[in-house]
Symmetry: C2
Subunit: 438 residues, 2 copies
């Protein structure tokens, strides 16, 4: 009889799960339990607790504008540390383990410091360590790219340590590390352990009757993450979708069922709002009396994009007298930089003035059936109107409707919409059971 | 006219020199001044302040016996951090710089975790960065070795990042990094910046009239370092000696002349005690009534050596009635481990009992002329006797006499010996001037 290979599970633990010795030991026990069940394990860890913020503060102590390459080497140490500590804690309870840095794990990136994308994974070392009976702990959030250098071999590769440059994947990048490894290694499961028990219909700190979803489709999850739900990084969900990796979000503190992010075969049947997201990291910029001529949008949004500022919603009012108002939103943390970039354009483009508002927020409803059911938009706008909440901007996608409202009305809006769409009510038992079995 | 190449200077800054943002900025200004004078620079840094101890405490929080490989990855992050911060601080004041980890700098080691020795340096990347006009900041204390792995290429090398293992050189290893780089790169100067202004005739915190030496020979410095002077790591001095690197020890806080460690052409002329060293990290072990038969020493010291415990002084008394007492000293921090190793040998070797004493200390006099002048030993022992200090053990080398005394008499002994050998008196101006010019 041929022996089945051991199942391979990728487990990812976020920063709050490894904040401090006691939590690291608890994570080690959780890993040991999984290992005892016979699985081969690849564990991805984030930096401990506030380490990343502390390292950013160190950098801020010596310079206002840290070099991005140096910052990546600095930040990557946070995950090196947590990976070694988890490995040590496993040794201490008799589990054979080894930590690997992103470069050692063979994770290559495109070399954009601070926001690198994974270009490929050379799984040789990970596979060799698994074959040697070890639990492999991978430092998340990082990889390696190639430095173009004079004086080195003509074509250095990322496996040439002398030319190897450490790059980080941006905030939440450890999720991406985990999903990419699960895809590359053909893992049977990819578990994201967090400080919440799963994906909720809304932030339960705001909507007290928010309900955990047993399953959510990739696209719905991407929209929720994009619109402010902070449990999972958007790119990680996208990577899971493209590679068909079932991602399980669950608590590292409780033994409780989590939420599966996966293809949802019942999307068409559900045909309802699945969740709400809100985001306070929003600022609105309005350019007043912009001359209504071709090329204006490019002149405004080109320089912002070149500087890595993501423009989210854009609304252009109907022109009046050859001029128009152009409003758009950006992440609030980028507002000062965006103003510096746009200020010189006032003369060049000939608009009257630039006004900004950093006391706005986004509230979105997400659900795969929204597109075909216009009643949802009406119900959303009506609910906000009934609550006396003014809608400043609207944007929609196939599965989402987003509104910009005053920031101080956000919690009220979330609670009103949660009630209006009856999100506290479980979906039909049958539908959920079928989905879970799918 | 052919242009002379720029002089190359290696500068090393220890942990206290980079402890905190303000000190890092000061180090950056010091580097910038040197750079402005036209030198190419390779800068080696230790971890900031107490970082290494904090990382050890983190490891101690999760396990009593941290895996040595994991500990090396953990500890190496301290130097990654300080190197990036110094590089950022240089950028902030307009100096082009780049930090390199030990592996990126091409420093390969023999792979003994926690106490690796440098096996070689591949200088390609450093040279490429210097050629690109950059000050190169190298993370000290670390290098890279090769992991023997199944499933990877048959013969992975240290330049194959997948097999690359991070190794550290042991406490003070950044000194070794600096001297090894100076030797490999043929540097014109190798400067070790510390929190003292140079090498003193004794610890100035104890002997208030201790005098800074303008020059000291490699061998004398090695003996001083070996016997407790903590300014320089022994291996770094040895490496300087073998490679004929002139090492300059000087203060990172004051602009003051330091001490040169170099071949001392006046050694024969000096013919006097050059310095005192003391060391409290000493414990004495005595095996009582050891059967006087061949092989006993090997049975005792073999297992200690196998476990990496350095035995320093050994004294075997004259046998009486077929048995003898065997006394030796080890680092005090190793005492508990040494007892665990030796306890099972009581029966095997048939000695009566093992006694230990961890309240002893070493005091040594060092000088290249000691060997040929028996008067020094008599003066040392007489001085201690006059002070009522009992000598428990004695050992000598060609240029050193060491005594073991009670720890609570150490400061008294240092002061008495400093006076007895007139170390506060400068050597003849002529001799010093000649040496400095040599």
């Amino acid at each position: 009889m041929r022996r089945m290979p051991d199942p391979l599970v990728v487990m990812k633990f976020g920063g709050s799960s490894v904040a401090g010795a006691e939590r690291i030991k608890r994570v080690a026990r959780r890993i040991a339990r999984e290992r005892a069940s016979g699985s081969d394990l690849v564990v991805v860890v984030s930096a401990m607790g506030d380490t990343t913020d502390e390292l950013l503060a160190l950098a801020a102590g010596v310079t206002d504008e840290p070099d991005l390459r140096e910052l990546d080497v600095l930040l990557a140490t946070g995950e090196h540390q947590s990976a070694t500590l988890v490995s040590m804690a496993l040794h201490a309870i008799g589990v054979s383990a080894i930590s690997l840095t992103g470069p050692q794990a063979g994770i290559t990136t495109d070399g954009r410091y601070g926001k690198a994308r994974i270009a490929g994974i050379d799984p040789r070392r990970i596979r060799a360590e698994i074959a040697g009976g070890k639990v492999v702990i991978v430092a998340g959030f990082q990889g390696v790219s190639v430095a173009p250098l004079n004086g080195l071999d003509n074509t250095p590769t990322a496996s040439d340590i002398h030319a190897a440059e450490i790059t980080t994947l941006g905030r939440g990048g450890s999720d991406t590390t985990a999903v990419a490894l699960a895809a590359q290694l053909g893992a049977d499961r990819c578990q994201i352990f967090t400080d919440v028990t799963g994906i909720y219909t809304a932030d339960p700190r705001i909507a007290s009757d928010a309900r955990q979803l047993p399953i959510i489709g990739y696209e719905e999850m991407m929209e929720l993450a994009n619109q402010g739900a902070q449990v999972m990084q958007v790119r990680a969900v996208e990577l899971g979708w493209v590679n068909d990796v079932v991602i399980e979000v669950l608590s590292s503190f409780e033994d409780a069922p989590g939420t599966q992010i996966r293809e949802d075969p019942l999307v068409e049947q559900r045909n309802k709002v699945r969740g709400l997201a809100h985001d306070r990291n929003v600022a609105k910029i309005t350019l007043v009396d912009v001359p209504d001529k071709p090329g204006v949008a490019r002149s405004v949004f080109g320089p912002l994009g070149d500087n890595g500022i993501n423009v989210d919603m854009i609304v252009q009012n109907v022109g009046h007298g050859g001029a128009t108002d152009l409003s758009f939103t950006i992440p609030r943390v980028e507002l000062a930089r965006a103003k510096r970039i746009l200020d010189p354009l006032v003369r060049e483009l000939g608009f009257r003035e630039m006004t900004t508002d950093s006391s706005v927020a986004k509230v979105s409803i997400v659900g795969a059936g929204i597109q075909n059911a216009p009643g949802y938009a009406a119900r959303m706008f009506g609910t906000l109107a009934d609550a006396g909440i003014n809608i400043e901007m609207i944007s929609t996608s196939e599965i989402r409707i987003t509104t910009i409202i005053a920031e101080d009305r956000v919690e009220e809006a979330v609670r009103a919409l949660h009630a209006a769409f009856e999100l506290e009510r479980p979906e039909s038992e049958t539908a959920e059971a079928a989905a879970a079995a799918g």
